[in-house]
């Protein structure tokens, strides 16, 4: 059975062109970028070229990009780095209620250290209202963080508007762009972004490398102390093969972005239209303001883990926000924040498309899913179709 991968929001396969670009940097060009000799300078050059390529994608200066090992690390650095580096300015942070768990947990930890955190609600589509941010800002606010696009429901947040508000008030604005970077245009200058997180493995680059954009002039306290790499903001020997791969992935995304967005939107809309024909099915996230590769549904009287496993048995890989599939046995807090009740969140299904998704694959899902939903409802005490 041919496997169909529709979980690109979880991670993506590395593009073969990226693998090819990385290859020389394992055994041939292996030097430590801090070394003075030829080997070191060779990789140092590759590092700085990669930094420039990546900075260009979001209209940043190369020295504003620092490489980390994961989006989780970048988000942790943004949060802890900003609040500890700007203690004299205040002690208050504002986040949205649908941020990734690495932001929620970082904020929670800072709360335990005496900082104050405000979590802003979202509407039924998962949108943050910029006016709520304006209202939540106090004299003590040092950081506002709202993700660019939701990893779960794909909703794209009005970050340019939020950036404008924060800049006016002189408050740092961070955005987690892990899901949008390389997929939709970002201009850190026009959007008034002070800090931005992006990750390589969500855009056909390798795992183990991510970045934090820190606008020149923003004061940040490092978490990792040591040899002073990455402008002293993140000590560690840099992961050169991964960074070179990240840069190649950015190049490809930049070149193919417009065309790819068009192609994926068409597939996504076909999928949504077909799936919503299933009785008692609903769309999560915004109907228009959403990533081209994300479709998220919930079905009445369906438990998501069963749904995902039935799909897996048919060779189709998707994910769910059901409690039963999580290690905490709690339903997705993102879906609850959009107003879903726990039993509705149990029945959620995220389908995320990507570069190697074909129309044939989408057709297969459209063919298989209604039968599975029917079967699960048949077994259940609720929602039977007679």
């Amino acid at each position: 059975m041919k496997k169909i991968y529709l979980d690109y929001a979880a991670t993506t396969p590395v593009d073969k062109r990226v693998v090819k670009a990385m290859e020389p940097f394992f055994s041939e060009k292996f030097g430590n970028t801090m070394s003075l000799h030829y080997f070191g300078q060779e990789t140092k050059l590759a590092l700085e070229q990669s930094r420039k390529t990546i900075a260009d994608l979001i209209n940043a200066e190369p020295n504003e990009i620092i490489f980390t090992a994961s989006a989780t690390e970048s988000n942790n650095l943004a949060f802890k780095g900003i609040v500890f580096g700007n203690k004299s300015k205040g002690n208050h942070i504002i986040i949205s209620s649908i941020e990734h768990s690495c932001i929620v947990e970082s904020a929670k930890w800072l709360q335990s250290q005496g900082f104050k955190v405000t979590k802003l609600p979202v509407d039924k589509y998962g949108l943050v209202n910029p006016r709520d941010i304006e209202k939540a800002i106090t004299k003590k606010t040092v950081l506002v963080s709202v993700m660019h696009a939701s990893n779960e429901i794909g909703t794209v947040e009005p970050i340019a508007k939020i950036g404008e508000i924060c800049r006016k008030k002189g408050i740092y604005f961070h955005t987690d762009a892990s899901q949008s970077f390389g997929k939709i245009p970002i201009d850190v200058k026009k959007m008034n972004i002070d800090l931005l997180t992006a990750s390589s493995h969500k855009m056909y680059g390798p795992k183990g490398v991510a970045l934090l954009y820190i606008r020149n002039g923003v004061k940040i306290e490092p978490i990792l102390h040591g040899g002073g790499q990455e402008n002293g903001q993140r000590s560690s020997t840099v992961n050169i093969p991964a960074i070179v791969g990240f840069a190649k992935a950015v190049k490809i995304c930049k070149k193919e972005m417009t065309k790819e967005n068009k192609r994926l939107s068409k597939l996504r809309d076909k999928l949504i239209k077909s799936i919503l024909k299933i009785k008692n099915s609903h769309l999560n996230g915004h109907p228009q303001k959403r990533l081209a590769n994300n479709a998220n549904f919930w079905f009445d009287f369906i438990e998501g883990e069963s749904l995902v496993m039935h799909l897996d048995l048919k060779g189709i890989a998707c994910s769910t926000g059901s409690a039963c599939s999580s290690f905490k046995l709690e339903p997705s807090y993102v879906l609850l924040a959009t107003g879903l009740k726990p039993h509705q969140a149990h029945g959620s299904l995220r389908v995320s498309l990507g570069r190697f998704t074909t129309e044939k694959e989408i057709n297969q899902l459209i063919k298989v899913l209604p039968k599975i939903v029917k079967h699960i409802r048949q077994i259940s005490p609720y929602g039977k179709e007679n």
Binding site: E303, S322, K341, S380, Y382
Partner: protein, 188 residues
């Protein structure tokens, strides 16, 4: 007193991937999420036995809560000799909930009530070749559903209810109340 185990001297159990309990993808060659469940669980989940309703059931056991994500209804048909002649289930829930529902119907069918009540959660887990720890509650749910169905049968037929069964029924009801209270705000 519980035996103290020194983690430094305790011989570590060697973990070798059990081929029987893992699924491999050609070309990938590693476990996937399916290795969370044993082949028996997956097989039962894929082709569950005895699902549906029994009209005019002699006893019905309803346990679980939709807010938590697991609801199990068990129907039994009992003959004059107290043998459970027929049993069916309706379950809303995860892979583990559906496979424990199916397996308990297999374990119970044809047994006398007395025999059926001896089935424990460990029997359910064993029959499935194991369950992930986090899903053990699904095996409890299956046993509870059976207890409730038998209790229902006894009370409907005005039979004398064994003390042990009554106690178990009360515990199940009590925890049901606690859960319902906890999730009150979500109920509609």
């Amino acid at each position: 007193m519980a035996k103290k185990i020194n983690p430094h001297t305790k011989k570590a159990k060697r973990i070798t991937p059990n081929k029987k309990h893992t699924r491999t993808f050609s070309g990938v060659g590693v476990n996937t999420c399916a290795s969370l469940y044993t082949p028996k669980v997956m097989e039962t989940f894929k082709n569950p036995h005895n699902y549906g309703k029994i009209k005019n059931a002699d006893g019905i056991g309803k346990v679980g809560n939709i807010v938590c994500g697991d609801v199990m209804w068990l129907y039994i048909k009992v003959d004059k000799k107290d043998i459970i002649k027929n049993i069916k289930f309706e379950t809303f829930g995860c892979v583990a909930a559906i496979s424990t529902s199916s397996i308990i119907t297999d374990l119970v069918k044809g047994k006398t009530i007395k025999e059926a009540l001896k089935i424990t959660k460990d029997d359910v887990i064993k029959s499935l070749g194991g369950l992930p720890k986090i899903k053990y509650h699904c095996s409890v749910l299956a046993v509870d559903a059976l207890i409730e169905a038998v209790y229902d049968y006894f009370s409907k037929n005005k039979k004398e209810i064994p003390v042990d069964l009554k106690k178990k029924h009360e515990i199940i009801q009590k925890s049901k109340d606690i859960i319902e209270k906890k999730y009150e705000k979500w109920e509609k």
